[in-house]
Amino acid sequence: MSNIAQDDAIIRPPAIGTRIWNSTSRILHKLADEPLGMMGFIILAILVVVAIFAPLIAPYDPAAQTLSDALQPPSFAHLAGTDEFGRDIFSRLVHGTRITIQTVLSVSVIVGPIGLVIGVVAGFFGGRTDAILMRATDIVLSFPSLILALAFAAALGAGLGTAIVAISLTAWPPIARLARAEALVVRNADYVAAARLYGASPLRILFLYIAPMCIPSVIVRLTLNMAGIILTAASLGFLGLGAQPPLPEWGAMISSGRKFMLDYWWVAVMPGLAILLTSLAFNIAGDTLRDLLDPRHARS
């Protein structure tokens, strides 16, 4: 048996790490010619840094209430003004990046593997398995996702965790479709046929030979979806179904600022700018990534 295991190693495709690294460096080279796309990635990188070092960057404690400073307009002391409890909005936005990035990453981590497994299984086995899985995918795809996420979030009780689950439940179908399409191509590759000749079991082929080949495109698709996830999460927060106060979630901040919008515009406007900037950056980055990786979409 050890003999076969060794041969097995020879015909195995290059390790995921190597392939992801190779494609990343290739993309980085191409990216140098795309100033707008570069901007998108730079903004995202800054956001990640802000999220990691939030306590060091924020000038004030995001929860510290100074009622004497309530509803101050933007100034040098308070870059984005203060809210109705005298909390510094800029500091709250900085800490809110953490919640946003956390939501996006959690949804991606849940949705990526689910979509990948469903898609790859459907594409590899084909036939009835494929028909059933893809019909289920189509059905979830034809649901209005925000409404369904609303109903889920309401059923599971409001909170950041349930918002993440609710968004995930409606966000996997595009990933599954993509993974299926990839698997359909890869399953006929020579190295898969070789592995089959060596007597590798279907499950082994599925998870060691086919699924890894689909991972890079799944990651690109996840990036493209992130802007949508941010907007849905913010909508849930705005409706009071996402992260609960006093957590500085951007959507929830807009919702509480809405009460004062006519007299103290900055309370509601500032968090919206943060959402806009973030989803803009994700959209630009996603578009650029797709242009670079998919020659059919290239603008030339």
């Binding site: 059905i139 599971l156 705005f238 409706l239 006519l262 919206g272 959209n283």
Partner: protein, 342 residues
């Protein structure tokens, strides 16, 4: 290009019905796992156990789950979606009042987004890489990224509070409230039917801002798709021949490109319409618009299960129906499939 045979139509219809059935199952399951206690919400927390039990039986919550599901679907088929705790009315009645308000908003929005998005997309495709193309690209990108509820707030601050150009939240000014008998439920149509032009203009000033905000959301998608379709057509031989013959750019678009992309556009518009209904939910909160979205959110706040599920089903149903129509329209209107069917 697939031909729309009777079998194909049947298959899609079956797909629609299966989707609807699953939507019902999902909403039913959501209703059962919901942690809020529907009985407690009616009788109050301090009610005596006998009254509590009696209400539980009255609501049918003592039956086994599959029977409850049966009762639920049976009721739905007869237009009975239970009673809303919030208003005390039958949910069907509440929804029949709320739905036209949402429909009016979404319809106006889809009109606006078509009137702006399609010409912009055509121009962007025709004058590729020109200033207008770049503008369209940025315009669409921002439209994809902007949180619609926030955009509504910004719009209100600028155009209502700041410039006083449009009406504020609600469908009409407070002193016009309740003057119009809802015949169709569409405020703009009803006021004209009754000849109340003052109220018509007032209602228009109220709907125009939320409709534009909502339209922007759809415009991004419509512009992008129109541009892509146009580019595809411009590379076709017949267009190249026409242009070689000396046909100007405007005429190329109007008499050659537009008729050929019309079918694809209809599909895009139907999908946008569905998305707009969904987007209306969040927009309505900002503008205190008495539609499905606001009704649903108010119900969410107090855990009113009947109302939430009914609203989910209605929006889901319309959404799926529009997708279905988009599919059928594509197969039906494409001249190539029409020729084949003859």
């Amino acid at each position: 290009m697939k031909e729309l045979s009777l079998g194909e139509l049947g298959r899609r219809l079956l797909h629609l019905i299966v989707s609807l059935f699953i939507l019902l199952c999902v909403t039913f399951v959501i209703g059962r796992v919901m942690p809020t206690d529907p009985v407690g919400a009616i009788v109050g927390e301090l009610a005596d156990p006998k009254a509590y039990e009696a209400m539980r039986v009255r609501l049918g919550l003592d039956l086994p789950l599959y029977q409850q599901f049966f009762v639920y679907v049976w009721g739905l088929l007869h237009g009975d979606m239970g009673t809303a705790i919030l208003t005390g009315n039958a949910v069907t009645k509440d929804l029949s009042q709320a739905f036209p308000a949402t429909l009016e908003l979404a319809t106006l929005a889809v009109l606006i987004s078509t009137l702006v998005g399609v010409p912009l997309g055509l121009a962007a495709g025709l004058f590729r890489d020109s200033a207008i193309d770049k503008f369209a690209r940025v315009f669409a990108l921002v439209g994809h990224s902007i949180p619609v509820f926030w955009f509504g707030i910004v719009g209100l601050v600028i155009f209502y509070a700041g410039l006083n150009l449009v009406g504020g939240p609600g469908r009409v000014d407070v002193f016009y409230e309740g003057l119009i008998e809802p015949t169709t439920g569409l405020m703009l149509v009803d006021t004209l039917l009754e000849g109340e032009t003052d109220i018509f203009w007032n209602a228009l000033s109220h709907i125009i801002l939320p409709a534009c905000i909502l339209a922007y959301m759809a415009m991004a998608y419509i512009t992008r798709m129109t541009r892509a379709f146009t580019l595809e057509q411009l590379n076709q031989d017949y267009v190249i021949a026409a242009r070689a013959k000396g046909v100007g750019p405007v005429r190329t678009v109007i008499s050659h490109v537009l008729p050929n992309i019309a079918v694809q556009l209809i599909t895009v518009l139907a999908i946008s319409y569905g998305n707009l209904l969904e987007g209306a939910v969040v927009t309505e909160i900002v503008f205190s618009w008495p539609g499905i979205g606001q009704y649903m959110t108010n119900a969410l706040m107090i855990g009113d299960m009947n109302a939430i599920l009914a609203a989910t089903i209605i929006v889901g149903f319309v959404f799926m129906l529009l997708n279905f129509v988009a599919d059928i329209a594509y197969a039906l209107l494409d001249p190539r499939t029409r020729e084949a069917a003859r």
